[in-house]
């Protein structure tokens, strides 16, 4: 039985179990002086600082630290504490990770994932709103370059880089204007390199640290009150665009960033650059993006004679014709309505073809269905390429 099923099962079963227990007056079997539960947090750890003033988050000094505050997903792999000073950047040890990315008997690891778990015994910090930079040292001993991605709380990509052989001292600026860093649950360290026919990916990880700041965090707030919903003036709005999931790995998921090259901007001073990638086997990965859940809200206010429509501009920077499919999903009954448009290579979309009229939505949706869940833009690319999305807005 899979545990995911179990969770649901338990939630379903608990209610009738409790009900029946009370109905027949079952006596709960407990002792009067039950022993205390184990201390989940263990002893309070002293906060310590590295020589350059950073708060030490994890120094990879003990096996238990690795077990309690790290979770590693990789096939045919082994992690050990290293005490060879050549591969230590802080303290007396580092984590030596030899990770294969091979097909195993039940699945496939496309990349190796090391998760550092916040609010745990050895990585107690979860509020990173006072952090200006994160630091992490990785010694790449693989004999080849390694792709690396660092994410926070599963979705917030903080760093993409290529690890050269030898030491890579990574410093990551946390742009606290763009996201809330006060409740980070986990940091994902994704590695890609090597494979079934290569040597294992071989890295030493040490000295995960935080450089604190006294400056309070001030976050941008996406302004959805008017008609210009997405202007992409900052990463906050980029984060309000989602990938569609279903991609093979973090290395082939759509990469979104703010573009300020005016060649790809029609409105304002920024647009969203989206790079679509191929999978490990060479096939295209997903080439779709969508607006954040429930960001647009109830569009009933746009119904009427003024004939409002959702407008957007997309630049096709690929060498292939894009058949764009734009679909509005309702919060109700999985209702959806979409339009299609052709975009020639290295061209902007035709505004007349990309309008989603609210009155059409009203016609096609039922009742309260104009409460919009998301708008999906599917590009159907057959090879890696880049598109630019500009100015998602209401127009008439």
């Amino acid at each position: 039985m899979k545990k995911s099923k179990l969770r649901m099962l338990v939630s379903l079963l608990l209610i009738p179990v409790c009900m029946s227990a009370s109905a027949v007056g079952c006596k709960k079997k407990t002792t009067t002086d039950a022993p205390p539960p184990p201390d989940p947090g263990g002893p309070e750890e002293q906060i310590t600082y590295t020589d350059d003033g950073a708060q030490r988050l994890m120094s990879f000094e003990a096996v238990e630290e690795l077990l309690q505050s790290a979770a590693i997903s990789a096939a045919q792999s082994k992690v050990e504490l290293n005490d060879d000073a050549r591969y230590i950047s802080d303290g007396g040890k580092s984590a030596h990770m030899r990770m294969n990315q091979v097909k195993n008997t039940s699945g496939y690891y496309d990349n190796s994932l090391v998760q550092l778990l916040c609010n745990t015994k050895y990585l107690k910090k979860a509020d990173f709103s006072d952090v200006e930079y994160l630091g992490l040292d990785i010694y790449n001993n693989s004999g080849f370059k390694v792709d690396f991605v660092l994410k926070a709380s599963k979705w917030l990509i903080l760093n993409r880089s290529t690890l050269d052989e030898g030491w890579n001292r990574i410093q990551i600026y946390l742009d606290r204007t763009t996201a809330d860093f006060s409740k980070i649950t986990v940091f994902d360290l994704d590695f890609k390199g090597g494979g079934a026919d290569d040597k294992p990916l071989d890295v030493y990880v040490d000295n995960f640290r935080a450089y604190l700041t006294q400056t309070p965090a001030v976050q941008y707030v996406q302004d959805l009150s008017g008609e210009n919903w997405y202007t992409f003036k900052n990463m906050r709005e980029a984060y309000a665009m989602y990938d569609m999931g279903g991609f093979e790995s973090v290395f082939s998921m759509p990469r979104m960033s703010i573009n300020r090259n005016t060649d790809y901007i029609l409105t304002g001073d920024a647009s969203l650059k989206v790079e679509f990638c191929k999978k490990r086997n060479g096939a295209m990965d997903t080439s779709s993006v969508r607006t954040a859940d429930n960001n647009l809200g109830d569009l009933n206010r746009y119904v009427g004679a003024e004939n409002w429509y959702i407008a957007f501009d997309i630049y096709n920077a690929t060498n292939e014709h894009i058949k764009l499919s734009s679909t509005v999903f309702s919060n109700y009954n999985d209702e959806r309505y979409g339009i299609s448009a052709q975009i020639a290579p290295h061209s902007w979309s035709n505004p007349a073809e990309t309008r989603i009229y609210i009155n059409d939505l009203k016609t096609n949706f039922t009742g309260e269905a104009l409460n919009v869940l998301t708008v999906v833009f599917a590009f159907g690319l057959t090879s890696p390429g880049t598109v630019y999305i500009d100015s998602i807005r209401m127009a008439k």
């Binding site: 545990k3 979770a71 992690v79 649950t185």
Partner: protein, 825 residues
């Protein structure tokens, strides 16, 4: 000499089960001041850290096993003051026939884990339960070999009996050092006069999720997986997947382990998503196994099976899954055929009828199932029925109907395995939970054998992650893998029976007492299989084609199981195991006890022996009749006061078989006073019947049950006309009585109830045919109901029915009750 005096003194005191206070040493610590209580326990007992142990035996520790078997028992110490450091050593085991070296005595400290009530683990109270079995040196290295005053510390003592050991009784000792003061426990080991086969008789598939080894060992390489595989193999268990990395070293692994395990899984992998099998991958391994079979002259497929758990786990929950399973089965069949065609074309196999090809084509998928194949809302495609071996969950075997269904399936040639998974691993089913009864784990294998089930499936033994706490991470962490029983917030011990070695500096994982119970249960099963093999080997000699051990196993099971429910009979299990060993020894000399039954105060037996020899039964020479080239002894004896059947063949050693307690008459319902013992619900009456037409003998009780229409519909619906008789739960383990139904066939519930009328549970349903007497037997009356897990002690057993109404009009049914019997616990 001084040491010897100490040992002798200790022996004498332990025999009396009293506290020993060392006098010689001036050790610092409480031992010199207060003393330590030393007890022994059976391997099916869980002795919690804090419970009173005064009722346990004082020793010696008795252990019995076959040649080549590893089995054990427990020593429990309870010091009156803190112990800062303990150590345990063993002596050689000696007998007139030879010596078993002390290296064969394996000593483990029991590590206590905290179990609190969970939705699926609430049979026994909260507390610190023993589970992990850890060599003392690993605890000592971390300074954890200490005991708090007035708490128990258990030691699990295994004896690895060499295959070459001579049969007989061996003596030795276990020495426990507590802060320098030593105490000695005598150890008595009986080596039975037969050898265990190299591989256990029961097929098993206890999964080790290799990925999860990273979460507890920081190592999920094949080398680490092999350490887990080896441990399970040492405990009679197949982990399923062989330890291999790829096709290049698969056959090497197969050759290494084939003779040690009962079964192995053909490798598989997904081609992406569920129900999407990479058939080319499966074919690659089928071909490799076939070629190795040819090369080695061993048909390796004999022990092979498919279990594609990530492809089709528990497919019986929807028609779509079932249909997809059918496709997977067909794809596998096609892969087999393609491999056979290729090997025949290459002349590796002579033809499609080559035994290697035939067995390969007959490989089945094992499918975890929670119910029967014929669930009304799901159609099992024929390809599935033909190609799978069902593994009913323990809990699915809770009614006679279910058990019979799967027993018949097994009898018809479809292998059936039992299946352990969280929602069904609690008493009265085989229990895997930590705060549950260990003996049920052993009883499972007796149940399996009696019903012809040939395997046991367990979804995982290394669930070392918190599967219910996944927020933000792949799997949650477990704060303390050794002392926190629940890894998932809903169970205590589901999915793990093995502990990681890493945190204690061990390259190898540690077993648990639950795994040891599995091991011993599979050994029990293997005993039965060995006995059965000896019976079958004599079928031709004795002209008895149906000769099997099934009957005598069923007889022994009566002391352990009631309708598939464990009777929690620790001593009975130990005794039954000893009897099995004796029966094997007898069978080795051609003496087969093929039938045993207790009928009232009579013992009925059937025994086959070689023609040359004499058989004494309970001290009297028996007379046999010719049976093939041997003799058959069939007779009936009065139950002796010893309540045992004592057999001696040709002046050899006497073999004593304990007999289950006979039924004693509780009530013959001969008088009105007798009938007053029958209690009835409202609108019912029990009176004396004197008509012989409605009595088995003499008189009987006439019970008239009437329906009633209440002003309140709810009350009308809830009303259940009923009657019951009472029994003493302190002495009674089973009840039976006969009922005559003079009317039309009608179904009643057999219910059990506590004396206060609370905790009523339906034990069974029974269809009373009209015009005949029906015997109602409740052979686990004292304890529990299979469906509800509710405990007694029950004191009432009776029949009830739904309200007797024709529309709104009440009507009356009449039953006659006669001859109620009870049997001891």
């Amino acid at each position: 000499m001084k040491k010897m005096v100490t040992i002798l003194a200790a022996l004498a005191l332990f025999g009396a089960g009293i506290t020993w206070i060392p006098r010689e040493r001036n050790a610092v610590g409480v031992i010199a001041e207060g003393g330590v209580t030393v007890k022994v326990a059976l391997p099916t007992q869980k002795i919690t850290r804090d419970e009173d142990v005064s009722a346990l035996d004082g020793g010696p520790l008795y252990i019995g096993g076959a040649k080549g078997e590893t089995t054990g028992g427990q020593i429990i110490i309870r010091p009156s003051g803190d112990v800062k450091s303990y150590g345990v050593t063993a002596s050689d085991l000696t007998s007139a026939a030879g010596t078993i070296g002390k290296d064969n005595v394996l000593i483990y400290a029991e590590v206590y884990t905290l179990a609190t009530q969970k939705p699926y683990a609430k049979i026994l109270p909260d507390g610190w339960y023993p589970d992990a079995l850890m060599p003392v040196k690993f605890l000592a290295a971390k300074g954890e070999n200490a005991v708090t005053a007035n708490q128990n510390q258990g030691f699990w003592i295994d004896v690895k009996i060499p295959a070459t050991a001579a049969a007989g009784s061996y003596g030795g000792s276990v020495v426990i050092d507590l802060d320098g003061a030593q105490t000695t426990v005598p150890l008595s080991v009986t080596v039975y006069d037969f050898a265990m086969p190299s591989a256990p008789a029961l097929r098993s598939s206890y999964l080790v999720w290799q990925d999860w080894l990273m979460d507890s060992e920081l190592d999920n390489t094949t080398e680490k997986y092999r350490a887990y595989y080896e441990l399970l193999a040492d405990y009679n268990i197949s982990a399923g997947k062989l330890p291999f990395t790829d096709s290049a070293n698969y056959i090497e692994a197969l050759r290494t382990y084939y003779n040690r395990v009962a079964s192995f899984q053909i490798p598989y992998r997904s081609a992406g998503g569920r129900f999407n099998l990479d058939t080319a991958y499966v074919a690659e391994y089928l071909e490799a196994v076939a070629r190795a079979s040819v090369a080695d002259g061993v048909n390796y497929f004999e022990k092979a099976y498919y279990y594609f758990d990530t492809i089709y786990d528990e497919p019986g929950s929807s028609q779509a899954k079932m249909d997809a399973l059918a496709v997977t089965v067909k794809n596998t069949d096609d892969a087999e055929q393609a491999v056979i065609n290729k090997l025949v074309a290459e002349s590796v196999l002579a033809s499609e009828s080559d035994p290697i090809a035939m067995v390969m084509k007959n490989l089945h998928h094992i499918i975890p199932a929670f119910g029967r194949f014929d669930r009304a809302d799901i159609t099992w495609p024929q390809a599935v029925i033909d190609g799978v071996d069902p593994c009913p969950a323990y809990k699915a075997l809770k009614t006679d109907e279910q058990i019979e269904y799967f027993r018949n399936l097994a009898a018809s040639g479809t292998p059936v395995s039992t299946y352990g998974c969280i929602t069904n691993d609690t008493f009265p089913n085989a229990a895997h939970e930590i705060n549950d009864y260990l003996v049920t784990t052993r009883d499972l294998f007796w149940f399996d054998y009696e019903n012809g089930f040939t395997g046991d499936l367990l979804w995982n033994v290394n669930n070392h992650v918190n599967t219910e706490s996944m927020s933000g991470v792949r799997w949650g962490r477990v704060n303390d893998l050794y002392r926190q029983a629940s890894h998932d917030t809903i169970s205590n011990g589901d999915g793990y029976m093995v502990y990681p070695g890493l945190l204690y500096g061990s390259d190898k994982p540690f077993a648990s007492i639950r795994l040891a119970a599995k091991r011993d249960g599979i050994s029990d099963y293997t005993y039965m299989s060995v006995l059965d093999g000896l019976f079958k080997a004599k079928q031709a000699d004795y002209g008895a084609s149906g000769l099997s051990a099934q009957g005598v196993v069923k007889f022994l099971n009566q002391t352990l199981l009631g309708r598939g429910v464990s009777k929690l009979n620790n001593n009975g299990l130990a005794a039954a195991r000893g009897v099995l060993a004796k029966l094997i020894t007898l069978a080795n000399s051609g003496v087969l006890v093929s039938g045993l039954a207790v009928d009232g105060d009579k013992i009925n037996y059937q025994i086959y022996t070689p023609a040359a020899g004499t058989l004494d039964v309970n001290g009297s020479a028996a007379t046999g009749t010719a049976a093939g080239s041997g003799l058959r002894f069939s007779g009936s004896l009065q139950m002796p006061s010893s309540k045992s059947l004592d057999l001696t063949f040709s002046g050899g050693a006497a073999v004593s078989i304990p007999l289950s307690a006979p039924y004693a008459l509780l009530n013959a319902f001969e008088t009105a006073d007798n009938v007053n013992a029958i209690k009835v619900s409202s609108y019912a009456a029990a009176t004396l019947n004197t008509s012989s037409a409605y009595a088995l003998s003499g008189n009987s009780a006439k019970v008239e049950l009437s329906g009633h229409k209440f002003p309140n519909d709810q009350a009308t619906h809830a009303f259940k006309p009923q009657f019951y008789v009472e029994f003493n739960p302190d002495t009674v383990g089973a009840v039976k009585f006969s009922v005559y139904n003079p009317g039309a066939t009608k179904t009643y519930e057999v219910f059990l109830e506590t004396s206060a009328g609370t905790g009523t549970s339906v034990y069974d349903t029974v269809k009373l045919a009209g015009g005949v007497w029906t015997l109602i037997t409740v052979d686990n009356a004292r304890i529990v109901n299979r469906a509800t897990n509710s405990f007694g002690p029950n004191t009432r057993v009776g029949l009830s029915t739904s309200n007797l109404l024709n529309g709104d009009t009440p009507y009356t049914v009449t039953l006659y009750v006669d001859n109620a019997y009870t049997a001891g616990k």
